[in-house]
């Protein structure tokens, strides 16, 4: 039995070792691991300044910037607040705001 790679973002449903492959393979995505709590500062996009160049989307080291309706949208479940997007934005359209305000 080969456990197939899941594409719906959910891990393989495992109830015990018999459902598992012999090695750590095909355990699905890491999407269950929401890393938002690591964040001290949150990026906020000013869409008046944004030119939809998607440089932020390219540089984001996590899958935390998505393209929705042709615009970059930050997924705050996974953004760790590394500030790379704000640093790379050519129009200074991304502001970092302190968390917990």
């Amino acid at each position: 039995m080969v456990i197939k790679f899941r594409t719906d973002g959910k891990g393989v449903k495992i109830t015990g070792e018999k459902d598992m492959p012999p090695m750590p393979a095909s355990l699905g995505f890491m999407t269950w691991n929401k890393t938002s709590s690591w964040r001290n500062v949150r990026p906020v996009i000013d869409y008046d300044k944004c030119i939809n160049c998607f440089i932020c989307w390219k540089f984001c080291p996590e899958p935390a910037i998505r393209i929705i309706d042709e615009k970059p949208v930050i997924d705050y479940d996974y953004c760790k607040g590394c500030m790379m997007c704000a640093e790379e934005c050519p129009k200074d359209a991304i502001k970092m705001e302190e968390e917990g305000k």
């Binding site: 790679f5 070792e17 090695m23 393979a25 355990l27």
Partner: protein, 382 residues
């Protein structure tokens, strides 16, 4: 076909007969001849394999891991310091359940800088999840390489074959090479269920939480337990092909022995000769050669020693702070099972010669003595 081969070349031809597809290796004395010969074999077109020259043993094993993960049959060889540098990737190969086969030539760990026989290098890797075969002849080396692929690929566990530097690696012996057609029948191409394949993508070795990690270890242990019957089954199948049977242990004249000597590697062969001489002197001594230490053949060992009165373990290694490693293993096997006194002897470290007289001396000393001791230094200059 019979050939006169160095122990090292028996390993090279073992890899050739097994049709290794990727050889990723770095030279180190006394192993270098193995991969040197293999590079010639590949260059001469006698083996369709990719030979990767790497910059370290850590990379040599990494190369094997990548190759094996794609479903290729991977091989490497190393020794001592090189094996130690591989340590991280040995764990990786085992937990990724990649059936890599490797040859290690037992060489003393430095310093003092030494290239001579000593088992501390391979025994330091005891807990990595690799199966370990201690070969005692060139024939054993060649056959074990083929057998190792058979067993490893069935269980998805890596194996290394290890043998004493120079005493075996650089000694010529007559080796019977099975025809490659026979080996092909015995060892069909490796085709794993799980492999790296761009057309069927999957994650490999990704972050694994406590939710799953524990079960992976459980499955690895299960595979090691399954290995014991699988090794015997493969051994019997190989026997039909070649007439040579390999088991986890090889007892010699142990049936009625009062004293069983427990040995491994080339010392086991010397001990067989010593046992014959001791028998001529009327002393009931047997030799139990441990060929495979992982998985540990506890039940087999208990069957062999059940009637004996004393056991002497001869170790060419030491776990400083305790004592010989084969002795520790044997004592843990006896605990809760049998009450037989065990003597632990250390001998031949750093390649010091172990002679027939030394073994006879150990046997005589143990037969005369009634107080077992964990640690007895044999031949230390005090």
């Amino acid at each position: 076909m019979k050939k006169t081969l160095l122990g090292n070349y028996a390993a090279s031809w073992g890899a050739q007969l097994s049709r290794a597809q990727v050889i990723s290796a770095y030279p180190i004395t006394p192993q270098t001849l193995i991969v040197e010969k293999l590079s010639e074999i590949v260059a001469d077109g006698k083996l369709d394999a990719k030979f990767i020259k790497v910059e370290s043993e850590h990379s040599a094993m990494s190369g094997c891991i990548g190759a094996s993960a794609t479903g290729a049959r991977a091989y490497t060889a190393t020794s001592s310091q090189g094996l130690a540098l591989m340590h991280e990737m040995l764990h990786w190969a085992a937990l990724a359940r990649l059936p890599i086969v490797m040859t290690n030539v037992n060489r003393a760990m430095a310093p003092g800088w030494s290239i001579w026989a000593d088992q501390n290098d391979s025994l330091s890797q005891r807990d990595t999840g690799w199966m370990q075969i201690y070969a005692s002849s060139s024939q054993d080396i060649l056959d074990s390489t083929i057998l190792a692929y058979k067993v490893s690929e069935k269980l998805l566990l890596p194996t290394f074959i290890t043998f004493d530097a120079f005493f075996l690696s650089h000694t010529l012996e007559v080796v019977d090479m099975p025809p490659i057609e026979d080996v092909d029948k015995f060892l069909p191409p490796y085709n794993p269920e799980y492999k790296l394949d761009v057309n069927d993508p999957r994650s490999f070795g990704a972050l694994t939480s406590e939710e799953h990690y524990y079960e992976f270890r459980y499955k690895m242990q299960k595979a090691m337990e399954d290995a014991i019957p699988v090794i015997k089954e493969a051994g019997r199948e190989y026997e039909k092909l070649t007439g040579r049977y390999y088991d986890l242990i090889h007892p010699y004249r142990c049936e009625d022995a009062d004293l069983v000597l427990v040995t491994s590697g080339t010392i086991a062969e010397t001990t067989n000769v010593a046992v014959d001489e001791l028998r001529k002197e009327g002393k009931k001594v047997g030799n139990l050669k441990i060929r495979i230490i992982r998985p540990y053949p506890k039940e087999d060992i208990l069957r062999v020693i059940q009637k004996c009165k004393k056991i002497a373990v001869i170790d060419r290694n030491i776990s400083c702070g305790y004592h010989g490693i084969f002795a520790q293993e044997l004592k843990s096997a006896l605990y809760n099972e049998k009450e037989i006194p065990v003597w632990g002897y250390i001998i031949g470290l750093g390649g010091r010669d172990v002679k027939i007289e030394d073994i006879k001396n150990i046997a005589d000393e143990t037969l005369k003595n009634d107080t077992p001791r964990d640690l007895i230094w044999k031949g230390v200059k005090l």
